[in-house]
């Protein structure tokens, strides 16, 4: 493996703890990742040495806080290859980033009958904001279907995109693991006159992403899935779009001037950052992307490819007849989220038995109910990997599953 996982594990204090006297095997990073000491220290350091509100005080520590906050923005911009730091708007999470686009760009540009194209593998975060606009003003949603091997079925993409105003699509499915090739899709959307929003919640933690290469217009990312704290994420959008969009929340920071009869807005990105932001969390986010850059995103990716291949093979060998995997088998087109159905055992029971061995997996519909309906399953178990997982973790998963099978055997 291209990452020194034994060394990486030492950077994550939580991995030292025991659950039920067993070593913690954390396989739910697609839901939320654990945090390295570098992130915890960056946040702690701010609170202990420089904490003050940002963009307001003249005094030294207020300036230090502001500098650190804005430096974090620059780090996030660099991480996703944004041309300008000001194209990064700090938000709470990817859900808020997508809602921000729906509320501001959407409510300005989408009207009755306008088409938004989604895929069947979207997370609720990239479905419900558009359903809300469908209810509110009658926009029309079209759905890119899936192929038998859990990839996008692009046979009718031209038709789906015809006349569309927006393509809103995930770069990596949180259920299937499928990686979508955004570049060609975005170019097809642009050719059809649509803008492109990419939900990169799952992709940003695991792939080297480049918003220019993608040719995207909006990209949503969230820190807590990429080693950063919860409560902070980012919306990237092309500057001219951000400038044309009306503000989102109103309040302090987002204004240039306020009179009794009106207000003018601040420059981007601050125009979209009303109120005191999540200062320490933004700084933690910056530390997280620095940590990932130090590992090298290409190595992060190749580690995950190897571990996913190893796990898929091990599941096949040990439990092949019992397990149905929902996701591509080709590790070149998938990430490290492995969703499966265990014959005769419900996902919640699997998860419960695995917890006995301190193996943490997600069970349920993974906030992707339309996808679950397409797959025809009520719930799946999902194991997902990140930089701190190794083959021993995959082995622990397989062993615990074999134990579950025994436990529930008739």
């Amino acid at each position: 493996m291209s990452l020194d996982v034994a060394k990486i594990k030492l950077d994550f204090p939580i991995l030292e703890r025991k659950v039920h006297d067993k070593r913690l095997v954390y396989l739910d990073s697609a839901s939320s990742s654990e945090k390295p000491t570098a992130v915890l220290d960056a946040m702690d350091h701010l609170y202990r040495t420089s904490y003050a509100n940002v963009h307001r005080g003249v005094y030294t520590i207020a300036d230090e806080s502001t500098q650190a906050y804005e430096a974090a923005r620059a780090k996030v911009a660099r991480f996703i290859k944004a041309r300008q730091t000001e194209e990064i708007v700090f938000v709470r999470n990817a859900t808020e980033a997508i809602n921000l686009v729906a509320y501001t760009w959407g409510r300005t540009n989408l009207h009755e009958g306008d088409v938004v194209v989604l895929s069947e593998m979207e997370h609720h975060a990239n479905i419900v904001p558009w359903l809300m606009l469908a209810e509110e003003r009658g926009i029309v949603l079209r759905w890119i279907p899936l192929t038998a091997d859990f990839r996008l079925d692009l046979t009718s993409i031209g038709e789906l995109l015809r006349g569309a105003k927006l393509l809103a699509i995930t770069a990596m499915s949180n259920v299937l693991g499928t990686i979508n090739d955004i570049g060609p899709l975005a170019r097809a959307a642009h050719a059809a006159g649509a803008l492109v929003l990419v939900d990169a919640s799952q992709a940003a933690p695991h792939l080297s992403i480049d918003v220019q290469d993608w040719d995207a217009d909006f990209v949503a990312i969230t820190a807590h899935k990429m080693l950063g704290p919860s409560g902070i994420g980012a919306l990237w959008a092309r500057r001219e779009l951000l400038e044309a969009m009306p503000p989102f929340l109103g309040g302090g920071e987002m204004i240039r001037d306020v009179r009794k009869d009106g207000f003018t807005t601040n420059d981007v990105p601050w125009k979209f950052e009303a109120g005191t932001p999540a200062i320490a969390e933004a700084i933690g986010f910056g530390a997280a992307v620095e940590y990932l850059e130090a590992l090298g995103m290409d190595d992060v990716r190749s580690h995950e490819v190897e571990l996913t291949r190893y796990t898929l093979d091990a599941l096949d060998d040990r439990l092949g007849e019992k397990i149905t995997i929902y996701g591509p088998r080709d590790v070149a087109v998938r990430g490290g989220a492995i969703s499966f159905l265990f014959e005769g055992i419900h996902a919640h029971d699997i998860s419960q038995v695995l917890d006995e061995d301190a193996v943490c997996v997600r069970a349920g519909h993974h906030c992707a109910k339309p996808l679950m309906r397409v797959l025809g399953v009520p719930a799946t178990t999902r194991a997902s990997f990140y930089v701190y997982n190794d083959q021993a973790d995959a082995d622990a998963l397989v062993e615990a599953l074999a134990k579950a099978e025994k436990f529930f055997a008739p």
Binding site: H346, A347, H348, Q352, E356, P378, F407, F408
Partner: protein, 160 residues
């Protein structure tokens, strides 16, 4: 630390593997009610045939984890042939078994009210589900069937 054996008692696994009263009934005369747990996707379908003040037939359907489906099976066996009043008493007793304080705020109870609900009610197999209390996340799995029953009884009790 509570072990898996506390949760998955043999009688529970038996009801999960061989659910009682599984099937459908024509509506009417049966009344159909459905319960969902949107968080985990568990689903309970309940057909009740009530004649006079008696539950004369019950069929169940749905899908979900072993706890939700076993609880549904046990519930169907427990209420079949009972009067509406007895069925409601079973609901209260089962919720008491799950340590659900219906009428009091959390922390207010000394447990006496729960014991009162349980006194004089024969729970039989259902007592096997008591181990679920040690796994708070799973209590909602066990109660789904009973909430669906309550909903069904409320609906059939409304004079049409």
């Amino acid at each position: 630390m509570p072990g898996l054996e506390d949760l998955y008692r043999e009688i529970i696994l038996d009801h999960y593997r061989s659910p009682r009263n599984r099937g459908e009934l024509p509506t009417p005369p049966a009344h159909k009610s459905e319960g969902f747990n949107p968080l985990c996707g568990d689903e309970v379908v309940l057909y009740l045939v009530v004649e006079g003040d008696k539950v004369v037939d019950v069929k169940i359907g749905g899908q979900g984890c072993s706890i939700s489906q076993a609880s549904t099976s046990m519930m169907s066996a427990a209420v079949k042939g009972k009067t509406l009043a007895e069925a409601r008493q079973l609901i209260s007793a089962f919720k008491a078994l799950m340590s659900i304080h219906e009428s009091k705020l959390e922390g207010e109870s000394d447990g006496a009210d729960l014991q009162a609900e349980l006194d004089g009610v024969a729970l039989g197999d259902l007592e096997a589900l008591q181990g679920v209390v040690k796994f708070p996340v799973r209590i909602k799995c066990a109660t789904l069937a009973w909430n669906t029953l309550q909903q069904g009884l409320d609906e059939v009790s409304v004079p049409s």
